[in-house]
């Protein structure tokens, strides 16, 4: 009898032992911490795998409109709460853009609603004269609250250089125009750079060594659009600016440059001091043609 009960007892213990092997997962017990969840990468990669980037830019030089609005995503770690959670975002002292003139923060008070884990900060950038010759900065900073902290001070999800971006000059993860790689050190900050300087559009055919339009300069582009009656939107892509169209525009613009070069007084000089050039100058300039490196002095004193 006793032996039977012992067997039954051991069996029960063994079953309990098996049941106890089921692992119980621990709930998230870290802080509810805010961070700018602004990402950028190449389009063929799923956006959820995009790395973070701590800056955006308002490139008014390549826009038709005077205002452009950004919705910066701000996310929070941890489980969604059963109540709304508020926090604010401010412009830091590093900001040299002027509120109202250069930008407007549409909602400094942000709310992560109950059951949600992110919200958006709406910022509108305004074109201003100050952006013509300078690059302005709006640096945004999340202000923590009692229940929302800031713990991502060294984010470091610096991405690899996307395919097609070979140098820091055209790598979107380098700070514009520098060799400083933009690694998101502190996710409480996000910078919006504002400038009204045209950058070479996708519909520009030409380089320093030739092509239909030759080297790109803001001055040449603006004048080309003025003379040919085209717009920034026309140069947005090679679909809106097929090469046949570019060639036709180059002819009209080249003829204008040749006409203006009839005298040194009216000659169009580019930003670097050379005579403004498109390939029509070469193909139809005859004895009056010049190269991309020709200066007015060299041309009129030869």
């Amino acid at each position: 009898m006793k032996r039977i009960f012992l067997i039954l007892a051991f069996s029960a213990m063994a079953m309990c032992g098996l049941v106890s092997c089921e692992k119980e997962m621990m709930d998230y017990e870290g802080e509810a911490s805010l961070y700018f969840d602004v990402r950028w990468y190449v389009s063929h990669i799923n956006q959820k795998y995009w790395p973070h980037r701590d800056w955006s830019e308002a490139t008014f030089g390549n826009m038709e409109q005077n205002d452009t609005t950004y919705n910066f995503k701000i996310a929070v770690t941890g489980y969604p709460a059963d109540h709304d959670r508020e926090f604010t975002v401010v412009a830091t002292d590093t900001t040299n853009a002027v509120e109202g003139r250069d930008f407007t923060i549409e909602n400094t008070k942000c709310v992560i609603k109950a059951g949600e884990s992110y919200t958006y900060l709406k910022v509108t950038a305004h074109r201003s004269e100050q952006m013509l010759n300078d690059t302005l900065l709006l640096q945004l900073k999340i202000v923590p609250s009692d229940e929302l902290t800031l713990m991502f001070t060294d984010f470091k999800d610096a991405p690899v250089i996307p395919s097609g971006y070979s140098t820091y000059n055209d790598n979107p993860f380098y700070f514009p125009g520098t060799d400083v790689k933009s690694v998101n050190h502190n996710a409480a900050f996000h910078s919006l750079w504002l400038y009204d300087v045209p950058i070479k559009p996708a519909g520009w055919y030409g380089t320093e060594i030739g092509g239909i339009f030759g080297k790109f300069t803001a001055k040449k582009w603006r004048l080309l659009m003025e003379i040919t009656g085209t717009s920034i939107a026309d140069f947005a892509s090679q679909t809106t600016m097929p090469s046949a169209r570019a060639q036709a525009l180059g002819e009209t613009f080249g003829k204008y440059l040749l006409d203006m070069a009839a005298s040194e007084e009216t000659c169009i000089v580019d930003e670097d001091g050379t005579m403004m050039w498109v390939n029509y100058i070469d193909t139809n300039g005859g004895t009056r043609k010049w190269s991309q490196t020709t200066t007015p002095y060299g041309y009129y004193n030869k």
Binding site: M1, R245, Q247, A248, L249, E251, K255
Partner: protein, 531 residues
């Protein structure tokens, strides 16, 4: 108490052992009293069927032969389904098209090959029996003639004379929905199938505008697409005629399969200019090539609406124009191929057998009509006039970008010999012989300008609205299309055969090739395109 539990336990264990022992000793003798189940043989279904989608019905009546005599078909469930997509792909799916015993399925599939399964389930046994067939769904709009015209109220209409290989010819009316009520159709140009890029287009040209139509063979009704000339023409020269009005797109597709004569380049003619471009990266044109220099200030000339090239070629790399502004034939120049040309110039000229430059004649001769022929090694023709006489020039386009066109013949037509030719509204050159056909009102004439023999072919009693040779549909340069119209009879399209005879004019009506439409026919264009 312990003794009692012990006793119960023993009893339970002993009983279990006995039951187990007994059950393990029972011999399973099996059941060899077998009952025959019904097997089904499905016959009466062909392996393959070919039908036109959207217009024809697949009818199949299977012959069901059960193995059990007298087995009722009430015991069956039927399912016909279309199997689409490869088995290995996510897109593989079955679509039930009928649950009846006999299939009556109006084919509603995009053109292509499909497997259709007939599945019979024996409700008594759950056993399934299957038989499959292959259905080739064809489009009635792949092969045939577009017939463009206007209805009584002037609204543009488009019919399709469907001529599928191995099947009867039938007219599909009102292919063009024309929701915008476009009026005044004058011309239709189908670019044919181009292998490079998405540049196939069906252009409807009206008196003052042009539209691209959907040319899909999978739709029984088509309408206007958004593409228009303002999206593809980007000249900046002063003197360009705007708004743009399309005159022609060349080279025209060739032969029964609408072969692209140049898949990567195209010539687009407007009322004011001609444009050439590579269309590999999309269709876009810059400055007109019908100018006399490569400069932006050059003089622009208006070309005749046909660019001349050898009509028997299967590839066209070069062509030339007739300058209606200065009355001179002009060849393109300035590029590695004529499509890359930037301007045009006069060809090398001499008086024999005719001048390229018509200003050498007094009075100056102007072009009346021109076309590219198939016969005589792809000779092109131009009908000229100086206001008194008419002249026919036969010539051959150059074969390289640096070459020159060659002259073949020049004939003078005395209007007193060619009856009422000065009143003609439509012309067609018979490329095999020196014969020109022309229509005056309801009368069709043929004139042999070598033998100076004129013959009235027919007085239709109603206005001739269209006249053209049709080499492409059957590779026969002797086929002639004639369309007539009257308010009572509406539109009629008929075919003639012109005999290739140097000594006689013989034009025979083909009595089986007559079709009727509500349209006043303006243009007939051969189409072969599987898209």
């Amino acid at each position: 108490m312990d003794t009692m539990k012990y006793r119960y336990l023993h009893t339970i264990l002993a009983a279990s052992a006995i039951i187990g022992a007994i059950s393990s000793c029972v011999e399973d003798k099996g059941n060899y009293d077998l009952e025959e189940i019904n097997e089904l043989t499905i016959e009466g279904i062909e392996d393959s069927y070919s039908l036109f989608s959207l217009t024809e019905t697949l009818d199949v009546t299977p012959d069901l032969q059960p193995s059990v005599k007298g087995y009722s078909e009430d015991n069956y469930e039927f399912n016909w389904f279309v199997c689409e997509g490869a088995l290995t792909t996510d897109g593989h799916k079955h679509t039930t098209i009928s649950t009846e015993r006999n299939l009556h399925y109006p084919v509603n599939l995009n053109p292509g090959n499909y497997s259709i399964y007939f599945q019979v389930t024996d409700k008594n046994t759950g056993v399934k029996f299957e038989k499959s067939l292959t259905l080739t769904a064809m489009s009635p709009l792949v092969r045939g003639f577009y017939i463009l015209g206007n209805k009584e109220d002037g609204i543009a209409g488009l019919d399709f004379l469907s001529m599928p290989t191995g099947r009867d010819t039938s007219l599909i009316p009102n292919l063009f929905v024309n929701k915008n009520g476009i009026k005044g159709a004058k011309n239709l140009v189908f670019t044919g199938y181009y292998a490079v890029g998405n540049n196939t287009a069906l252009w409807l040209i009206t008196e003052d505008n042009q539209y691209t139509l959907d040319f899909s063979s999978t739709k029984t009704e088509v309408d206007v697409l958004p593409k228009n000339l303002d999206n593809i023409l980007f000249p900046t020269m002063e003197g360009v005629q705007k708004p743009f009005h399309l005159a022609n797109v060349l080279p025209a597709p060739y032969g029964p399969n609408c072969t692209a004569l140049c898949g990567s380049n195209r010539i687009l003619l407007t009322d004011g200019e001609a444009y050439c471009a590579s269309i590999i990266s999309g269709e876009a044109y810059g400055q007109p090539v019908t100018r006399d220099a490569s400069t932006v200030t050059a003089n622009i000339f208006t070309p005749y609406k046909v660019a001349f090239y050898a009509g028997n070629s299967t590839y066209v790399s070069t062509f030339f124009f007739y300058d209606t502004t200065n009355n001179c034939f002009k060849v393109p120049t300035g590029g590695y191929s004529s499509y890359a040309c930037t301007f045009c110039k006069k060809p090398t000229d001499s008086a024999t057998p005719f001048y390229w430059d018509q200003t050498n004649y007094t009075p100056v001769r102007t072009i009346v009509y021109g076309e590219n022929g198939y016969g005589n090694a792809g000779r092109s023709y131009a009908l000229m006039t100086d206001g008194q006489n008419y002249y026919v020039y036969g010539f051959k386009a150059q074969t390289s970008a640096t070459g020159m066109p060659t002259k073949a013949t020049a004939s003078t037509i005395d209007p007193n010999d060619a009856i009422d030719i000065a009143k003609a509204s439509h012309y067609a050159f018979f490329s095999m012989q020196q014969i020109i056909l022309y229509s005056v009102g309801s009368k069709l004439y043929a004139y042999d300008y070598a033998r100076k023999d004129c013959k009235m072919i027919n007085d239709f009693g109603e206005e001739i609205t269209y006249l053209a040779f049709d080499f492409h549909s059957a590779s026969r340069p002797t086929d002639l299309l004639v369309a007539t119209y009257s308010p009572a009879q509406k539109g009629t399209l008929c075919k003639y055969t012109v005999t290739d005879d140097i000594n006689n004019i013989n034009v025979e009506a083909r009595v089986d090739d007559v079709w009727h439409t509500d349209l006043r026919i303006e243009k007939v264009f051969w189409r072969y395109c599987t898209n």
